[in-house]
Amino acid sequence: MLQFLIKRFGQSVILILIVTLITFFLINLAPGGPASMMRMDATAEERAALSERLGLNDPIPVRYGKWLGDAVQGDLGPSLSSGQPVMDRIVERFPHTLKLAFWTIIFSVIIGVVLGIISARNRNTWRDHTINFGSVIGLSIPSFWLAIMLILLFSVQLQWLPSAGTGEGFVGQFKSMIMPVIILSTATLPTIVRFTRSSMLEVVSQNYVRTARAKGMKEKTVIYSHALRNALIPVISIIGVLIPRLLSGTVIVESVFGWPGMGRLIVEAAQSRDYNLVMGVTVVATVLVIFSNFIVDIIYSKVDPRVKNIG
């Protein structure tokens, strides 16, 4: 376990370094900068003074070095647009995104696995075809369009659900989460359905499933205990892959639903060329992905005894 942790930690540090390096150069090489985002009536001198004050005239590698030096000490710098520390702005937004991502994963895994099993058990019947068709639709419809359509239907027409915000009280929070979670799930749910289906189909033709039947096990036990546990192994590993997809999904969903999370924060940061904020959000998102993959690996090792137990 300790060895695994050390190895994992080393890999993670390198990964974060690479991610920050690429992001830093990309955002700094993009045209414009904080100075060009000042009020329209700012003079050229004022703009030059701002760039000078923020240290933006130094070469990019030097600035990256400085940023990194501060970052490893836990200082992500001030937000260039608001002056607040980047850390404070992230801490304020982070829980909202986490809540959304968490419930999306829970929702997609439960519904996805159930639909996948139904699909596999009823292979090539109308149930299977319907679920497959739904998956393709879910994957191919642009989420921003679907989000707007849902708002038009449930918020504008029926007035059942709020179109934006995080809601007040338990019921309000729940209601305001329904649409964002559904939209986010369109990126993850179909993948889980398809993986569960194909994995289940493969597993039920395995010899050990026949053995279970030969032992006289009830069909329910055969499917939900003997087959499903094996079928879930590849599904668990795919969840690790889906988490980055989910985080990038939050950028669109949070913008459409006015959700005060990190997805919207990074859009705001990029638009105002708030270099420090972009970097901060990137680091936090990277850590989140690494951490969730770590959790996935631990679950994986618990489910599949052939993988050396790591936790």
């Binding site: 026949r210 053995t211 032992k215 009830k218 192994i233 599949d304 005894p305």
Partner: protein
């Protein structure tokens, strides 16, 4: 001796993309109490299908019993409901498969896989099931049973896994154990151990065994009675002595001749039956063996030989006399 299992005119069909095929056609044979019956034949002759049909496991793999009866202690298994059949599987009769590497579930411990049958069929408590499982593991020659119970399949060797499969098969003292090529995937020393174990256990708990094998040596060693199958049909059946002393069907004869003898000189060619077993969706007319048979006549090309009593055993061949005449000159010594 009392008859435990009587298979009567059993036919099986599989649906495939090119229509349906019949891997088992009008098969009839009996298993007496305490007897070991070997079903022999090349791959694709319908041996495994027979075993799956008797266990009624075919319907999970796209197969269907289309005709015939499977009388087990007088009751027809072919017409039993899925639920009735489920209760018989694993308690009254068990099966051991040929792939010990994949026949056990990789995500459950050996103990879990042994105990679940005992808890289900015998209504054992967890503790009773545990103790009985340890006993069973000892019975099949696994010593450190308490530790093995907690292990997973990937921690066991092939021979060990097959022993566990046998333990699972024996767990509720079945009257019939079907062993479908139980040693094919194992090496020769382990094969001998497993076969000895089966013989030993058979006497201990007085069960009948259907042993499916393509190895005539194994059949000679184990069988009381032998059923020879070719391309979905039974071509000859009789006691082990009858068949080995005087094989009457050219196919049986060919199988026996194909056993390499230890005394053969090195420059002698190993005997093999010419040609290969036909595909089920393209079966020859008449006797299915005729394209590979040295005795084939025009009659064999058009008319299917019935399985009739000849020379003290059941055999399906039009040219029995020719075969016997030729054999009397060159006798094969196996037993």
């Amino acid at each position: 001796m009392k008859t435990l299992l009587e298979v009567k005119n059993l036919s099986v069909e599989f649906k495939t993309e090119d229509g349906s095929v019949r891997p088992l056609d009008q098969a009839s044979f009996q298993v007496e109490e305490g007897q070991t019956v070997c079903i022999v034949g090349e791959s694709g002759s319908g041996k495994s299908v027979t075993s799956l049909a008797i266990m009624r496991l075919l319907e999970f793999e796209n197969g269907k019993i289309t005709d015939g009866q499977i009388l087990f202690e007088g009751e027809d298994l072919a017409t039993k409901s899925a639920e009735e059949m489920r209760k018989i599987r694993g308690s009254e009769m068990s099966i051991i498969f040929q792939e010990p590497m994949t026949a056990l579930n990789p995500v459950f411990t050996i103990g879990q896989q042994l105990m679940e049958g005992l808890q289900l069929h015998q209504g054992f408590s967890k503790k009773e099931a545990w103790n009985r499982s340890c006993e069973l593991l000892n019975l099949v020659g696994i010593n450190d049973a308490q530790d093995r119970m907690k292990q997973y399949v990937h921690e066991l060797s092939g021979g060990m896994r097959q022993r566990v499969m046998i333990a699972i098969g024996l767990s509720s003292n079945p009257k019939l154990l079907i062993a479908d090529e139980p040693t094919t995937a194992l090496d020769v020393t382990i094969e001998a151990q497993i076969l000895n174990l089966l013989t030993e256990l058979k006497d201990k708990i007085n069960m009948s065994i259907i042993l499916i094998t393509h190895d005539m040596g194994v059949a000679a060693e184990m069988a009381d009675y032998i059923v020879v199958m070719y391309a979905g049909k039974i071509v000859e059946q009789g006691t082990v002595y009858q068949l080995f002393d005087e094989p009457t069907h050219p196919y049986t004869k060919g199988l026996l001749q194909s056993i390499p003898s230890a005394e053969a000189t090195t420059d002698e060619r190993l005997y093999s039956i010419r040609g290969t077993i036909p595909s089920l969706n393209n079966l020859p007319t008449g006797c299915r063996f005729h394209p590979r048979c040295d005795f084939a006549t025009d009659k064999c090309l058009t008319e299917v030989p019935p399985l009739v009593k000849e020379n003290d055993r059941l055999v399906a061949c039009w040219n029995i006399n020719d075969v016997l005449e030729k054999s009397r000159g060159e006798k094969v010594e196996i037993l």
